[in-house]
């Protein structure tokens, strides 16, 4: 018998035995065990029409991403861990995920005044422009910090947070300063709770501030440039700090955060010595039946990573989400925007209206309308002197003004959505979008490679409640553009039996592709079964290549063909 296995089993048994032993003392009374799991496994088929061959699949036709997380809690104490397996990772996920292990574990103690976590943790300071760690399974994104986090709540309305740790980078263990050490401090004050005289004031004010520092060893670095080697002297400590406020007066709310980062030459900004700045502001007004939101964001050289040489999505310390609307219909999300951390300035406005039942416009059943407009431009960048090109490696980079709007449009989206209930059985959502998408900028191509794509999209989503338990939903979508791959049409039919079953068929047809051999149908058949919090589903068919975005991070997904099985469960 393998001794090691015996040891493990012994340890587990002992752990499980503890409750038996101490049961009489009721020490563990009130302990709880919860968790969740997900497995996504795909059997890939080759598909010459979409360019999927054995070699693009690397000969590995069966792939799986899976995780299980278990959390144990007892009173003020919690501990947990997550086990992950990528055997090998699904196509579109970074190959460096290949492997199994437990990248996430923690122990936590908290009461009304203190909250201490050792191990991995997810944390966000304010809006996130200085620090945010989080996980997004569907994107293969995890930038958790491993180390120590302490939160102190000395009095009502006051929170201090301190974090100290290193970030996850696939499976690569931290050693010998192979990536940066992140330290951060955040303070948050809710004035109406702090000062008794303000308790019942109509004006509510929250103030906050953060300071984050990353230490990366390596004061000098040789960077190849134009056939020469450039010896750069680098700042080993890079700090990013700023403040925020949230002002609330009745139905009106105003939130603003500002961040400033010291000069931080990185692979992503072409190793320029320029400080970074960011400002996000949002004003909203809403009362029953009406919602208005206006926001603006200005980002200038604000990418902040715990390894300056990494240029992909990993090791982000801060979070720079896009302010454009996130769409979930297939064709509306064909050209999604993602923040350009090197510089952009944008605005976004949303108005939502609800006309209630039995009103003139609402009719017998009510009507909702939501309109949104957003536009993001590049920054206006000028030369720092006559001999230095904008963004030239190893220089001060460029000069830019506060909120200096450049001429190049990165993205624009105007959309309107109408939700109408016709009667007890029929409902519909109708959407129209006009999108402008600068493919060269957003997807990091050379200027002029693809240019800008102008598209119009129309969607009708109609639901029919056949009986109390059976319903049918039909989506029909069209995307019209003269650029890129031309016109598309898509349709989806979904039948559900509450609360357990669903089956759906979908086809996306690229009928307007100027390359007639690429006028392909992307058909999928899906089905699934849900029981409480367990869901098993499958999908079979061809997926078009695209970009999946969740929040501020996007991932390229190559075209695939095959059978995918997904199981999710939580307890």
């Amino acid at each position: 018998m393998n001794r090691r296995i015996c040891c493990y089993l012994g340890a587990i048994s002992l752990l499980l035995l503890v409750p038996v032993m101490v049961k009489s003392q009721d020490v563990l009374k009130g302990s709880e065990v919860h968790g969740s799991m997900q497995a996504d496994a795909t059997y890939y088929l080759t598909d010459p029409k979409t360019g999927i061959t054995d070699s693009t699949l690397d000969g590995k036709l069966i792939r799986m991403n899976a995780f299980t997380e278990v959390n144990y809690s007892l009173g003020n104490f919690t501990a947990g861990m997550r086990f992950e397996a990528y055997l090998p990772p699904l196509t579109g996920y970074d190959a460096q995920y290949n492997g199994v292990g437990a990248p996430y574990w923690y122990v936590n103690y908290k009461n009304d005044y203190i909250d201490v976590t050792a191990g991995n943790f997810y944390e966000q300071f304010g809006y996130g422009m200085m620090l945010r760690t989080y996980q997004e399974w569907t994107l293969g994104y995890d930038n958790s910090l491993r180390g120590l986090r302490v939160k102190v709540m000395p009095a009502k309305g006051i929170t201090f947070k301190g974090v100290y740790g290193v970030q996850r980078y696939y499976w690569e263990p931290y050693k010998d300063y192979n990536r940066g050490i992140v330290k951060g401090f955040d303070a948050d004050f809710y004035l109406n709770d702090i000062f008794k005289s303000l308790n019942d004031a109509k004006v509510k004010l929250t103030l906050g501030g953060s300071f984050v520092s990353n230490y990366q060893q390596g004061a000098t670095k040789d960077i190849p440039s134009d056939g020469k080697i450039l010896a750069l002297t680098l700042p080993e400590n890079v700090s990013n700090y700023g403040g925020r406020f949230n002002l609330n007066i009745g139905d009106f709310n105003w939130f603003t955060e500002y961040a400033h980062k010291i000069n931080d030459p990185t692979a992503l900004n072409n190793y320029i010595y320029k400080s970074g700045d960011g400002l996000f502001t949002n004003m909203s007004f809403s009362k029953p039946g009406l919602g208005i939101s206006l926001m603006s964001k200005w980002i200038d050289n604000l990418s902040y990573k715990s390894d300056r040489s990494v240029s992909n999505n990993m090791l982000n310390i801060n979070y720079l989400p896009s302010i454009t609307k996130e769409h979930s219909y297939a064709l509306a999300s064909m050209y999604p925007y993602s923040t350009q951390p090197n510089g952009e300035v944008g605005v976004s406005g949303t108005v939502t209206l609800h006309f209630p039942k039995n009103s003139t416009i609402g009719g017998k059943t009510g009507l909702s309308v939501a309109g949104n407009f957003s536009q993001v431009n590049g920054l206006k960048k000028t030369q720092v002197n006559d001999t230095t090109a904008v963004g030239q490696i190893g220089t001060a980079g460029y000069a830019s003004a506060f909120y200096g709007v450049g001429d190049i449009v990165y993205y624009q989206d105007a959309n309107i959505e109408v939700t109408k209930k016709f009667n007890k059985k029929w409902k519909g959502i109708f959407t129209y979008l006009y999108q402008t998408y600068n493919k060269d900028v957003v997807e990091n191509h050379a200027p002029g490679d693809f240019g800008t794509i102008y598209s119009q999209i129309g969607i009708a989503d109609i639901a029919w409640n056949i009986t109390k338990k059976h319903s049918l939903r039909w989506e029909v979508q069209g995307l019209w553009t003269k650029q890129d791959k031309g016109n598309w049409v898509a349709s989806l039919l979904e039948f559900t039996i509450s609360p357990a079953w669903f089956v759906s068929v979908m086809d996306q047809y690229n009928y307007g592709n100027s390359n007639t051999s690429q006028r392909l149908n992307y058909y999928t058949l899906s089905g699934g079964y849900t029981n409480h919090s367990t869901r098993i589903s499958f999908s079979y068919g061809r997926q078009r290549e695209g970009i999946i975005c969740v929040g501020g991070v996007c991932r390229y997904v190559p075209a695939t063909n095959g059978l995918t099985l997904t199981v999710t469960s939580s307890f």
């Binding site: 997810y122 029953p288 926001m295």
Partner: protein, 173 residues
């Protein structure tokens, strides 16, 4: 081998003990800091309903089935409250990108729920929620008695039926 068998037996006993104690039931919601849609602090301990059942629904503005679920319930929510006294807490997991759109959306849709923000998914993680929508039903004592992932039309009837059962003092599975 004998040792192994012995250990396995012990493991089994251990697990049984856990099961008997009902360790897989949320007897109390985890304490997590949330925010109201006005950006003000809120703690999950305040999710209460005077001894009546509570529905907690995890959703996001960008999640179509979530919005469909909350829209469907909104149509009958007044009747539900009158009949059963149930209260729905809608926990938005919208992050910084879209959390400022939550208040305009709930007002714009005419929803009458208590909506809370969980911008870095702390509460979602503490409740072990994976894909959304994910709905929990709590009895009058604040224990989770039922949970469900995904939404299809008709699920709301199932949910309110369970609320009625709870009010009658029947067991919900």
């Amino acid at each position: 081998m004998k040792t192994l068998r012995f250990l396995l037996l012990l493991t089994l006993i251990g697990s049984c003990t856990f099961a008997q104690e009902g360790v897989f039931t949320y007897k109390k919601l985890p304490t997590v800091k949330l925010k109201t849609v006005k950006g003000l602090p809120y703690t999950s301990d305040s999710i209460t309903n005077n001894g009546k059942p509570i529905i907690i629904s995890f959703w996001a503005t960008w999640c179509k089935p979530c919005v469909r679920e909350l829209t469907t319930i909104a149509d009958v929510y007044d009747d539900w409250i009158t009949e059963t006294g149930v209260k729905l807490y809608a926990i938005s997991v919208d992050d910084s990108r879209s959390m400022t759109l939550v208040a305009p959306m709930i007002n714009g849709k005419g929803w009458d729920y208590t909506v809370l923000l969980d911008p870095n998914s702390d509460f979602k993680r503490a409740m072990n929620v994976g894909p959304i929508p994910h709905t929990f039903l709590l009895n009058g004592k604040g224990e989770v008695v039922y949970q469900h992932t995904s939404f299809s039309e008709g699920d709301e009837l199932n949910l309110i039926e369970m609320v009625r059962k709870l009010n009658r003092g029947e067991e919900v599975k």
